[in-house]
């Protein structure tokens, strides 16, 4: 009698047990049979094969028409560039008159990240405002701890974007003059998600409208919703040809790997820029497009889609996970597969994780050494920015010096210049990218424009 375990019985059909039989497919047939798995992993189709989602901007325009919200528009004065997103929808990227929505992780830990961005804007004569009236998006804390909720995230989003809308009044300029440019990838993903829920839920809108009213943060009694939520990497992407005009250092010999940030392209993926000229449109276009334009060799690697290991909570309290993932799934792969000279990213937590978690590899017998920079830092570096005064590479734990040597930058001389500059700073002689009087737009320390000497 055949038993259940008898491979001849036909009694089991899972295909995973002793009854398993080799199908004896040719290598080519085997490749065809499993190619869909590869497609799911590697191709943009992982998103496009799903049912199309609605464009929440349609709801936004209807709500404005119904008199329920006001939309902060990207106007001609912001000189928008048009980019195509996942489904081919158009996204307006403002290129000038920008309000910098800073990132707490960048400013606190990788200050050369925002400084490089502002330096590029100065070189390209882009008008902007960097002010003190803004909070973190609070999403790092939320994703790490669970402290916070949809209402708090929504209220913080609306408060900060309202401030962006009114900030120019401190300079005697009209509302809506500046358009917010979000620096952090988590802020970017979180704000887009929250905007979607606000547009879809009248209940949520009503709850936060009451809070925003208490704060005096309504426009004509209505919530203010931004037409587009724009990440700085999108600005860099549409400006990449203009950035290239500033380039002083050839980097055609540099093998670059890109770490696309999860919260930039996996949250609200329908709003993410893809470009057929950038790796055939199979990867998010930002950063990769810039690196290609600057002339680096962008090398693909098998774990490009993996996260960095940041984990929000993990980088603080479960660092074994963070550093293991960062080393094993990202840094070592980029070194072994791509023989990379640098890993470039576009988000706060990723740069921190990938940069800071290499040294500990020695303790586990996994020594790794790969310079890690944000895209704007790399761009600033090859456009002639000072590696220490502007790019602030001394805050990076990874071997940025190795990269600088490959780029022909005498980092030791530059470091000596910076050490001398620190003496000037001690004496109160500090160089700034903009007039410090602009940074306070209300409250204590605000100097009305008419009173400025």
């Amino acid at each position: 009698m055949a038993t259940q375990n008898d491979p001849q019985s036909g009694g089991r059909f899972t295909g995973h047990g002793a009854e398993w039989r080799d199908a004896k497919l040719s290598p080519e047939d085997a490749r065809i049979a499993t190619s869909w798995v590869e497609l799911k992993i590697d191709k943009r189709s992982m998103l496009t094969t799903k049912q199309r989602v609605e464009d929440v901007r349609d709801i936004m325009w209807q709500l404005e028409k119904d008199g329920e919200i006001v939309v902060h528009r990207v106007t001609d004065e912001h000189e928008p560039a048009i980019a195509k997103t996942l489904y081919g929808w158009e996204k307006k990227i403002p290129t000038r008159r920008l309000w910098h929505h800073k990132s707490c992780g960048q400013c606190g830990n990788i200050p050369g990240y925002p400084a490089s961005l502002l330096w590029l804007m100065n070189r390209l004569d882009i008008e902007y405002l960097d002010e003190t009236d803004q909070t973190s998006c609070t999403a790092w804390n939320y994703h790490g701890s669970g402290i916070g909720n949809l209402e708090s995230l929504s209220a913080v989003f609306l408060r900060n974007f309202h401030q962006a809308y009114v900030a120019a009044k401190a300079q005697g300029l009209p509302e809506g003059y500046y358009y917010p440019l979000v620096h952090c990838g988590t802020s970017f993903g979180n704000y887009k998600e929250v905007r979607g829920y606000l547009l879809q839920s009248a209940t949520l809108r009503e709850k936060v409208r009451k809070i925003l009213a208490k704060l005096g943060r309504l426009v004509d009694g209505k919530l203010l919703i931004p037409e587009e939520i724009v990440h700085y990497s999108e600005w860099l992407h549409v400006m990449r040809e203009r950035v290239k005009t500033l380039q002083e250092i050839d980097c055609s010999h540099i093998r670059a790997t890109v770490h696309p940030a999860c919260h930039v392209y996996k949250m609200v993926p329908q709003d993410v820029i893809y470009d057929d000229t950038v790796l055939d449109g199979n990867r998010v276009a930002v950063t990769t497009g810039l690196m290609q334009t600057l002339g680096t060799q962008v090398i693909d690697y098998s774990t490009w889609y993996d996260c960095c290991g940041f984990g929000f909570r993990h980088i603080i309290s479960e660092r074994e996970f963070t550093r293991s993932f960062a080393i094993d799934r990202k840094i070592r792969v980029a070194i072994d597969e791509a023989r990379a000279d640098v890993m470039v990213g576009h988000d706060t937590g990723c740069i921190t994780t990938l940069d800071k978690n290499q040294w500990i590899g020695k303790a586990a017998g996994k020594p790794v050494d790969l310079p890690v920079l944000a895209d704007c830092q790399f761009a600033a570096l090859v456009c002639g920015a000072h590696p220490y005064k502007i790019v602030q590479s001394h805050w990076h734990a990874s071997s940025t010096e190795t990269l600088m040597e490959k780029l022909g930058i005498d980092w030791q001389a530059k470091k000596a210049e910076f050490m001398a500059y620190l003496e000037e700073v001690k004496a109160g002689k500090q160089e700034n990218l903009y007039d410090p009087r602009r940074m306070i737009t209300s409250g204590r320390g605000f100097i009305p424009i008419a009173s400025r000497p």
């Binding site: 606190g108 830990n109 708090s152 208490k214 984990g311 734990a397």
Partner: protein
């Protein structure tokens, strides 16, 4: 002979006993809290157990955690299983949302985990208290200032595993911060200088949205410290407003 209590027995009761550790009404209340979030129906649309989410999940590489399991527990309304997962598993998720990007059903297991974390806090679960204790520095900074992270938190003492190159230049933090060419960043206790008015506005948001209540539930000492700071800053802001009124009257 006495035998060790398993985690399942500890948190959801002995499966062969009539005496569950957690009452049915409490399990139902917890599930109701998760399900009542307006995001729930958006994040959960169905599940065929395909496992793409788990195959691509970074936390699943290292922990006893599976986004597929989370989705299945919620989809099948397995209240005991949901409660058990809230004791540890939900805190393993790295919140990368790779699962959401990949799910053919458009589910967001990572998003569902957030609803479960919020609920774990609301119900003052021991797991939430334990897991969040090392996170209190971030919460203190964020809730009292509006900044989640500050330069004075990134030191060799706090991150010895980052090695000696956390700062490659040996100079006082204050000087290094002043050497950043963005005046808003010349700070050490916050990532950027935050306007006092901004912090005070944020306090209203925390109060109105129940965030302070969450904090009080999970860590009453931290709550006390933060509310003291809030009171001081509000007083400062009020003083400044009074000064302005005074100056107007003088004019």
């Amino acid at each position: 002979m006495a035998h060790a209590t398993s985690r399942v027995q500890k948190h959801v009761g002995d499966p062969v006993s009539d005496q569950p550790a957690v009452s049915r009404p409490e399990l139902e209340e917890i599930f109701k809290d998760i399900q009542s979030d307006l995001r729930y129906d958006h994040e959960l649309n169905g599940c065929l157990n395909c496992g793409i989410c788990t195959a691509t999940c970074p936390a699943a590489h290292y922990y006893d955690f599976s986004p597929r399991e989370i989705v299945q527990l919620l989809w099948t309304e397995n209240l005991e299983g949901i409660y058990d997962a809230m004791q540890e598993k939900i805190w393993a998720c790295a919140q990368c949302y790779t699962c959401a990007a990949r799910c053919p059903f458009g589910n967001s297991p990572g998003g569902l985990v957030m609803l479960m974390r919020e609920t774990a806090i609301k119900h003052n679960m021991e797991s939430a208290r334990n897991v969040l204790r090392p996170f209190s520095r971030v919460m203190l900074k964020l809730i009292s200032t509006g900044n989640q992270l500050a330069p004075d938190m990134i030191t060799r003492d706090h991150f010895p595993d980052w090695g000696p190159n956390v700062s490659k230049i040996d100079a006082p933090l204050k000087i290094l911060r002043r050497a950043i060419p963005m005046p808003t960043l010349n700070t050490t206790a916050t990532a950027w200088e935050v306007n006092l008015k901004t912090s005070v506005e944020l306090y209203t948001i925390w109060e109105e949205t129940g965030v302070l209540k969450q904090l009080e539930t999970i860590d009453v000492n931290l709550f006390d410290v933060i509310t003291d700071i809030m009171d001081e800053k509000r007083e400062d802001w009020k003083d400044w407003l009074d000064e302005q009124e005074g100056e107007k009257d003088d004019d």
